[in-house]
């Protein structure tokens, strides 16, 4: 009994999960002899090494909250094991992205702590974001109805993932000191009309430009995400009821308008309300996802024994269905649980830290992760209309993973200040 906790340290659990997972994956691929299995072993050990090394560094350098990274590494391990089972080439790429992400994690951690300019450059965030949006629109390539990728060399980069971080900084710098945004007076002398636009409305307008750009790129999930974070911020920072109602009305009008004018949004709604009427075509993805989740049962079929490959896009947006099928409802609930603890830690950091800017950034990052998880998990289980967005730290996607680690690095830096 004495000091039993020495043997159940959480980091050992993460290592154990990886060992079990990659052992299974090693055996899983045995029948096809043409695949080089040594790579599986190498991949497994590199994931374990990356996690242990990062965790050791966090402890050694006393980088504040140590649970954040543990929770994330558990989520990531589940994700990479699942990805490896679905498509080993993608998973190997993902491990390389993981290494890049961890480098970015440390870089952002030190950049945020050492540089003290983040709240001073309030106007820069929207400007840089809009430039990035325009770059995406001009040079971007389409993929599955969304027009949100640009190619740099052989790598496809999704700039909106970086804009997420900029957007949070923009919100935080506004709410830290709204006076940085001046009131704007438009005077038309000839007609003797003076329109005074207060800074609050400028702020709201800037927000809608963000959301509008995302709409143009058909990134519905991210647009929804930004709008959610925006509304939460309005609510948290005690805006007037009239402002909230105004934004809610705008959102409703926007939704109704886009339902009638954009075909792909109507499809999303129709398949949400009744996917069974067009099961072989429009409703195929969501119904296959529901079948996959249902066929898992409590403990799942076991890794490699289910058929998650029936679900289109199972490695990115729909990875949760694959987890539910092969690791069971308990596995799925565990993932949700982990996101719960993560969000809780984030909110706690936000409450503990003293400086307003840090507070709001921590709050924004946590809200972003929490809402993103809600939007995609809700979509996959048909709770809300499906919008394509990645599940943080689990889905395949280099940009998403790296942006996740950038946010995590900033959160870690804030927890150090607390």
């Amino acid at each position: 009994m004495k000091n039993y906790t020495r043997f159940v340290k959480p980091v050992y659990m993460v290592v154990l999960i990886n060992l079990i997972g990659f052992l299974l994956l090693y055996m899983y691929s045995k029948p096809n002899n043409n695949i080089n299995n040594n790579i599986t072993i190498f991949a497994g050990f590199s994931v374990i090494a990356l996690i242990c090394l990062t965790y050791a560094l966090i402890l050694k350098l006393e980088m504040g909250d140590e649970y954040l990274f543990l929770i994330v590494s558990m989520l990531m391990s589940i994700g990479i094991i699942m990805l490896y089972r679905l498509d080993r080439n993608l998973a190997q790429k993902q491990i390389i992205w993981l290494a890049v992400g961890i480098i970015m994690f440390f870089a952002c951690y030190f950049a945020y702590l050492k540089l003290n300019i983040w709240y001073k450059v309030a106007y820069l965030y929207p400007i840089v974001s809009y430039i990035l949006f325009i770059i995406t629109i001009v040079f971007g390539g389409g993929k599955r109805g969304a027009n949100n990728w640009i190619a740099i060399g052989h790598i496809n980069v999704q700039l909106s993932e970086i804009i997420k971080v900029l957007y949070i900084f923009f919100l935080a710098s506004y709410y830290t000191d709204p006076d940085k945004f001046r009131d704007c007076t438009i005077a038309v002398k000839r007609l003797k009309i003076k329109i005074n636009i207060s800074k609050q409305w400028i702020f709201i307008a800037l927000n809608y430009i963000f959301i509008g750009f995302l709409f143009l790129q058909r990134e519905l999930g991210t647009a929804f995400l930004f709008f959610g974070v925006f509304i939460f911020f309005l609510f948290i920072f005690g805006s007037k009821i009239s402002t909230l109602v105004f934004n809610a009305i705008i959102a409703c009008i926007g939704l109704v308008f886009s339902y009638f004018y954009f075909y792909h949004i109507r499809v999303r709604f129709d398949t949400w309300i009744n996917p069974w009427s067009d099961i072989s075509n429009k409703g195929y993805q969501i119904t296959q996802s529901l079948f996959a989740i249902g066929s898992g049962g409590f403990f799942g079929t076991g890794l490699g024994l289910g058929r998650p490959d029936f679900v289109p896009e199972v490695h990115t947006d729909f990875i949760f269905s694959a987890i539910c099928e092969e690791m069971g409802i308990f596995g799925g609930i565990a993932v949700i649980f982990l996101f719960f603890i993560f969000a809780y830690r984030g909110f706690k950091i936000s409450l503990m830290v003293k400086e307003t800017f840090d507070r709001i950034v921590a709050l924004g990052i946590t809200l972003m992760f929490a809402l993103q998880t809600f939007i995609i998990l809700g979509g996959v289980i048909k709770l809300i209309p499906l919008t394509g967005i990645t599940l943080p730290f689990i889905s395949y996607g280099g940009s998403s993973l790296v942006s996740g680690f950038i946010s995590l690095g900033i959160l870690q830096a804030i927890s150090k200040k607390a």
């Binding site: 906790t5 159940v8 959480p10 024994l305 308990f330």
Partner: protein, 148 residues
């Protein structure tokens, strides 16, 4: 063959994930407990005891710091001011008090003894200086007193 192993390991897998969640929640719980205790006293200029052990290696609840704002006793029994369930502590282990701005520590006849900078102390009060290392039971504290 693979099917059997995979079927067995899926239970292990799920159980390990839940043990992980349990340990994280437990550590977070310890964290909140200590957060509530500290609140209110942290701003004032009292000396305090700072824990040097890593709390996740201990099987009992212990705070990160203990503020010595008045006479304080430490031990396992609930009538003490600082109750710590370390099996190596005695029921009434040690006492801290101040006289004329100097802080003293005395042992209350504990079984495993109290040590200041690795020197065993007895019932006679010993004055404490900033940075002194205090060992009781499995715990090691450092005495922190800001110089005025």
């Amino acid at each position: 063959m693979y099917e059997v192993i995979s079927t067995i390991l899926k239970y292990v897998f799920t159980i390990v994930i839940y043990i992980f969640i349990y340990t994280i929640i437990r550590l977070i719980y310890l964290d909140i407990k200590s957060m509530n205790k500290r609140a209110g006293l942290s701003d004032k200029k009292y000396p305090y005891l700072k824990l040097l052990n890593r709390r996740d290696e201990l099987s009992f609840r212990v705070d990160e710091s203990y503020v010595l704002n008045s006479r304080k006793t430490i031990g396992r029994l609930s009538k003490n001011d600082f109750v710590i369930n370390d099996p190596f502590l005695s029921g009434n282990h040690a006492e801290f008090f101040s006289e004329d701005g100097i802080y003293y520590m005395r042992d209350l006849g504990s079984k495993n003894g109290s040590f200041i900078n690795n020197v065993k102390i007895e019932y006679d009060a010993v004055p404490l200086n900033n940075g002194d290392k205090i060992q009781i039971g499995q715990l090691t504290f450092i005495f922190v007193q800001d110089n005025r």
